[in-house]
């Protein structure tokens, strides 16, 4: 895997990737169909959608119906990709996703944009810290938290043909570039971004950038951490998890999500009963979101590189005992 992280922001925003890739997928596969709930203009699909009303179904501000329509289309062999903001893509439509799609066996992809604090100026009402928890509770679902534009593009090219309910959460803005252009990032596999013997940080989404900055700080003190992009939170790459947990003996998770139900939960659930290893987390404490610039929210909800540094030191102190 060609990792090109150098701390610089990508010139491509996530919405640019969505606006380019969704039409490509639909044009390359007649079964792919895209549904949105009046937010096409937010991810750059509106112009293409207006010109292709048979491939891009604007369902209006009616998310529950959108998911049901997608499930009905899937029952007839289509491969629907639905988009709306994360809170509406998860908690508002949970029963529809669970039953009409999951339970019934209708395979659909749902993209929830503005994950966690990326909702920024839309505020607490629009800030999903629980979306991964909800989707993880759906049997056989695939749950993905995106780190960079190239990863998003690669994942979009894979998910339409994966069985079950697939949930992808990402920002609409740009993020630090991690993966080289054209790189395939296989769904279901943790990606080693940095090797280190002292502790491992399993991170997802916007926390990858923070983990790299934390690694730099810790290296100054002689602490070397491994960083693994555990972007597929479900199904979790247990082989990768156990390998690094065993090799380093100290685990930290980092996610832009409630500490309940997301990556920290997935990691600790997998480790429990398998091996004794100290685990610490960087995640949103069990609180609601609020409005503000993303930089402010990062501090407000304990999602900075400093918090990762502190948790690495804490886990190392527990490891020493």
């Amino acid at each position: 895997m060609n990792i090109v992280y150098n701390g610089e922001m990508d010139s491509r925003a996530f919405k640019d990737v969505l606006g380019k890739t969704i039409p490509e997928l639909a044009e390359n596969d007649p079964d792919v169909i895209y549904l949105d709930a009046d937010l096409m203009s937010c991810i750059g699909t509106a112009k293409w959608g207006a010109a292709n009303p048979d491939r891009a179904i604007n369902c209006g501000i009616a998310e529950a119906n959108m998911i049901g329509v997608a499930a009905g289309l899937a029952s007839q062999g289509f491969k629907p990709i639905c988009h709306t903001f994360g809170p509406f893509a998860s908690r508002r439509v949970f029963d529809q996703v669970f039953l009409a799609a999951g339970y019934t066996g209708n395979d659909i992809t749902v993209i929830g944009t503005d994950a966690g604090i990326c909702a920024a100026f839309n505020g607490g009402t629009h800030m999903p810290f629980e979306d991964m928890a909800l989707y993880r509770a759906i049997p056989t679902a695939t749950v993905i938290d995106i780190a960079d534009a190239n990863q998003l593009e690669s994942v979009l090219h894979q998910v339409a043909d994966i069985k079950g309910v697939k949930y992808i959460r990402c920002s609409r803005k740009s993020a630090a570039k991690v993966y080289a252009d054209g790189e395939t990032v296989p769904v279901g596999k943790g990606v080693t971004l940095r090797e280190g013997k002292d502790a491992v940080v399993f991170a997802t989404g916007i926390m990858i950038h923070e983990a790299f900055m934390a690694a730099e700080e810790l290296a100054k003190e002689g602490i070397e951490i491994a960083i693994v992009d555990m972007f597929t939170v479900k199904p979790l790459d247990k082989e990768c998890l156990f390998k690094y947990a065993k090799e380093t003996g100290a685990v930290v998770t980092a996610e832009n999500h409630n500490k309940i139900g997301g990556l920290y939960s997935a990691v600790t659930e997998a480790l429990a009963g398998e091996m004794e290893v100290p685990v610490e987390y960087v995640a949103v404490e069990d609180v609601y979101g609020e409005v503000g610039p993303q930089d402010y929210l990062r501090e407000r909800f304990d999602l900075t590189s400093d918090h990762i540094v502190r948790k690495v030191k804490k886990v190392l102190s527990r490891k020493a005992k």
């Binding site: 169909i33 048979d54 179904i57 369902c59 209006g60 009616a62 529950a64 119906n65 959108m66 998911i67 049901g68 329509v69 997608a70 499930a71 009905g72 289309l73 899937a74 029952s75 007839q76 062999g77 289509f78 029963d95 529809q96 039953l99 009409a100 339970y103 019934t104 066996g105 209708n106």
Partner: protein, 279 residues
């Protein structure tokens, strides 16, 4: 309407009622009221309107049924058994451990069931998705959606109705089972939804209100949905909850009933007498 066809559909409806009661009898309890109210519609749909193949239940260009009031499952199971989708006696395993005939319709368990339903309201959207898929693939078929009048308390139904009209799903026929009762009592007392035909027309449907327990009225209304156009169709079926079994009709709380075997036998004997009178 042809007199022979009318007679055969009336017989089919009565046979469906018998199967419904027999399957519910096997457990001693079940959603009998709302199952009996849709038996005439099921008889006319499967007896005169729908192209389906019991040997090939997933035939792509078949007509499809989404029974969004999933608790009417026993009536649909009886219909499909009588059509030959599976041996008749299997419906008597209703709600037994490991059965393929659960309370609410499940497409992964029962041959001929086109969509899983049970969480009320959801079938309205999945039916729209099916109709849209067939329209995009230029199939010459129809999707029939049975919705309860209590069920339309759910906001999702109205999202789906707006969608059906917006996307000009003229291959979708919505049959509203206006039996006037829901679990806790009369719909007019729980959450009134009067003038359903006017509501559906206002939502952009080609709408008609008929006696939903009259096979002739159902046949005429459904024949009229073959003419295409650019609007979805709505048939508001004025029905009696529990229709066909006098004691169930007269019981106020007939959404789900638990009674002894002798009671079920009395109901079956009433239905069998009706069937014999048709011979």
């Amino acid at each position: 309407m042809d007199a022979e066809l009318k007679k055969s559909l009336q017989k089919f409806a009565t046979q469906i009622r018998i199967g419904t009661v027999e399957s519910i009898k096997s457990r001693g309890f079940g959603h009998i009221g709302g199952a009996l109210s849709v038996c005439d519609a099921l008889a006319v749909l499967y007896g005169s309107q729908m192209t389906v193949d019991p040997k090939n239940p997933k035939m792509p260009e078949r007509d499809k049924l989404v029974c969004s009031k999933g608790h009417a499952g026993p009536a649909v199971y009886a219909t499909l058994a009588l059509k030959g989708f599976y041996p008749y006696d299997e419906i008597k395993t209703l709600n037994q451990p490991g059965t393929n005939f659960p309370s609410h319709c499940d497409t992964n368990k029962t041959p001929g069931i086109d969509m899983t339903t049970g969480s009320l309201g959801q079938g309205t959207s999945t039916a729209c998705g099916i109709a849209l898929a067939d329209k995009l693939r230029k199939h010459n078929n129809r999707t029939f959606l049975i919705v309860g009048d209590g069920e339309i308390n759910e906001g999702q139904c109205w999202e789906a109705f707006m969608f059906a009209a917006a996307k000009k799903l003229s291959n979708l026929v919505v049959l509203i089972d206006w039996n006037k009762k829901q679990l806790d009592g009369y719909t007019k007392d729980v959450l009134p939804n009067e003038n359903l035909d006017a509501k559906m027309a206002a939502f952009g449907f080609e709408t008609v209100k008929i006696n939903g327990n009259d096979v002739e009225a159902l046949y005429e209304a459904l024949e009229n949905t073959k003419k295409g156009g650019d609007k979805p169709y709505a048939i508001v079926m004025d029905t009696v909850k529990g229709c066909g079994v006098t004691e169930v009709e007269e019981t106020m709380g007939n959404h789900s009933m638990t009674v002894g075997a002798e009671k079920f036998d009395a109901w079956l004997s009433e239905l069998n007498d009706k069937l014999a009178a048709m011979e």
